[in-house]
């Protein structure tokens, strides 16, 4: 593993490797820091003590060793935390950053964090927030990452001449790689609505007429093929392809159109395939959201969903109300699947939104 690896571009293998390496470095440093603190208190078996305490009160505890950033964060932010008093400068900002970081790391370990520079920037910023107050060295790495990524994103970074020896790309755990490959395979097969179409242009060509809200093939209406799905299908297509025009339909019903010059997935000319209901599909949209009890708040902007969506979100709020408590955190994937992470870190799907029933501009299309 190389120390202080920085990206030169948006290569996703490098990005995943760096996230993994920063997480490991931070875990080791935090753990060493806590070991020293507990040593001074004469509590050498502190991890076992925490485990016993959590189990004794019925909390789930799946962590196998203390060098796990998600364990450290999870324990630090509990109301009855066994370690918070040892972390210097612990305050609300630290806690908020730690909770957001834990969610990102969960997404990362489940192959749901989009492997791009924006995600890496977010992760680096959050690591910096929680590590700098404890004076940990990983915060230097996080700050260097932030500086480098901003330069790449604003186009001012110039790739240096080949280094000798070159900086090695950090390894990524195989289970994380497998999760990413699964997610990418799924997206490549049929991407989220509004996203770039993947693969060849299908053969069957239909015309979506915006004025008549109907579908034609060689001048004849074919919407009767959809039966009861007609209205829903046309509404969906027009949501992603408001001007209408040519739409190409693949053998499984997946449909593609050129939207502002780019081939995009606009819907299905068939019932949408049944996906595995328990699994959350796609990459997580970068953002932190809280269910207030009556609404959803974007924690970064402070905006409320009911004031920020194009269409009514009444049904979504109703479903959330039945399954969540006020102040619960939720996330959403680019497929519009809203979920929250249980105590075990596994994502639990709650309901589904589309680009007009979520914060404007945050879902594809």
């Amino acid at each position: 593993m190389s120390i202080f690896a920085l990206p030169d571009d948006d290569n996703e293998v490098t990005i995943l490797g760096i996230i993994s390496a920063v997480e490991r470095a931070a875990s080791v440093e935090f753990c060493e820091f806590l070991n020293n603190q507990f040593d001074a208190l004469g509590q050498k078996e502190w991890f076992e003590d925490v485990r016993h305490y959590r189990k004794s009160i019925g909390d789930p505890f799946t962590y196998k060793h203390p060098e796990d950033m998600r364990f450290i964060i999870n324990e630090a932010v509990q109301n009855d935390s066994q370690i918070w008093h040892l972390i210097p400068n612990m305050n609300n900002a630290w806690t908020a950053a730690a909770i957001a970081l834990k969610a990102r790391l969960n997404n990362f370990h489940h192959g749901q964090l989009k492997p791009d520079l924006q995600s890496l920037l977010q992760i680096a910023t959050l690591f910096d927030s929680i590590a700098s107050s404890s004076g940990l060295g990983v915060s230097d790495w996080a700050r260097a990452l932030k500086t480098r990524i901003k330069k790449i994103l604003d186009g001012t970074f110039e790739k240096p001449a080949e280094l000798n020896p070159p900086i090695a790309i950090p390894d990524v755990p195989s289970d994380v790689t497998n999760s990413y490959n699964e997610t990418k395979k799924e997206v490549a097969k049929r991407p989220p609505l509004g996203s770039k179409w993947q693969g060849e242009k299908p053969q069957r060509k239909l015309m979506l007429d915006r004025a008549t809200e109907d579908l034609y093939e060689d001048g004849l209406s074919v919407s009767s093929e959809l039966g009861e799905l007609k209205e829903q299908t046309i509404t969906t297509w027009l949501r992603y392809f408001p001007r209408g025009g040519e739409v190409w339909v693949d053998s499984d019903g997946a449909s593609m159109a050129y939207v502002k010059g780019i081939a995009r997935m606009v819907g299905w000319f068939s019932p949408e395939p049944e996906w595995n209901q328990s699994e959350v599909r796609g990459f997580v949209v970068p953002g932190d959201y809280e269910f207030t009890g009556k609404d959803v708040r974007d924690l970064e902007s402070g905006l409320l969903l009911t004031h920020s969506s194009v269409d009514s979100v009444r049904e979504i709020i109703e479903v959330l109300s039945k399954q969540l408590e006020p102040n619960d955190r939720i996330s959403i994937t680019d497929y519009g699947e809203i979920f929250n992470a249980g105590a075990d870190g596994v994502a639990k799907k709650i309901t589904r939104a589309h680009k007009n029933t979520w914060f404007e501009g945050q879902l594809p299309g």
Partner: protein, 195 residues
């Protein structure tokens, strides 16, 4: 075989077809007149990420101002038909002997339900291009870009219209301006979001 010169402009590729040919016809400004005249015709092709394949010509007439006209829509989507019948550019000769290129854009007209040529601000054209139109044009040899009043001291009802001046015969600048204000505008459904 050498490849023709081409310039990428956002979603479009402008390919310059070598050679000048003679074309017989009527200038748009004299289309009701009886006489045809000869033009020196240079052509370029605009292709796009959404299958547009359009041949466009720069006509330099013997006895009329030069103009840009679409010649043949070889391929594309139904919406690209909007480029066939409208969107020509009539150039004029500026006071200093340069070619003055009016910069209007094809914009979706919600009332009519199709694209029409409309005046546009420099910011609107920047938004169609995705970056600075002025920088692009200056890089291709445009001399001045601004209102007709500012760049050519016009005081008529077109004085506020955005335009640029180029050296006579600067096909690259004219073709790219056409690609941005016509083809790219239609590809992006310019004006539809507002509608």
């Amino acid at each position: 075989m050498t490849e023709n010169l081409s310039i990428s402009v956002s979603r479009c590729e402008v390919e310059f077809i070598p050679g000048t040919i003679a074309a017989l016809g009527k200038p748009t400004s004299q289309r009701k007149g009886p006489a045809e005249q000869v033009a020196r015709l240079r052509t370029f092709r605009i292709t796009s990420s959404d299958e547009l394949n359009l041949i466009v010509g720069l006509y330099v007439w013997e006895a009329a101002a030069p103009e840009v006209r679409p010649i043949d829509l070889l391929g594309g989507l139904q919406k690209h038909n909007e480029l066939k019948g409208r969107g020509g550019i009539s150039l004029t000769i500026s006071r200093d002997g340069k070619w003055l290129v009016p910069l209007r854009v094809l914009k979706y007209n919600a009332t009519k339900g199709y694209f029409t040529l409309q005046g546009a601000s420099e910011e609107e054209i920047d938004s169609i291009l995705g970056h600075s139109f002025r920088e692009l044009m200056m890089g291709l040899g445009a001399i001045k870009l601004g209102s007709r009043e500012v760049i050519d001291e016009e005081s008529n009802n077109k004085r506020n219209q955005l335009a640029m001046t180029v050296e006579p015969g600067n096909l690259e600048a004219i073709a790219v301006a056409y690609a941005v204000t016509r083809a790219q505008a239609v590809i992006l459904d310019f004006g539809l979001d507002v509608a």
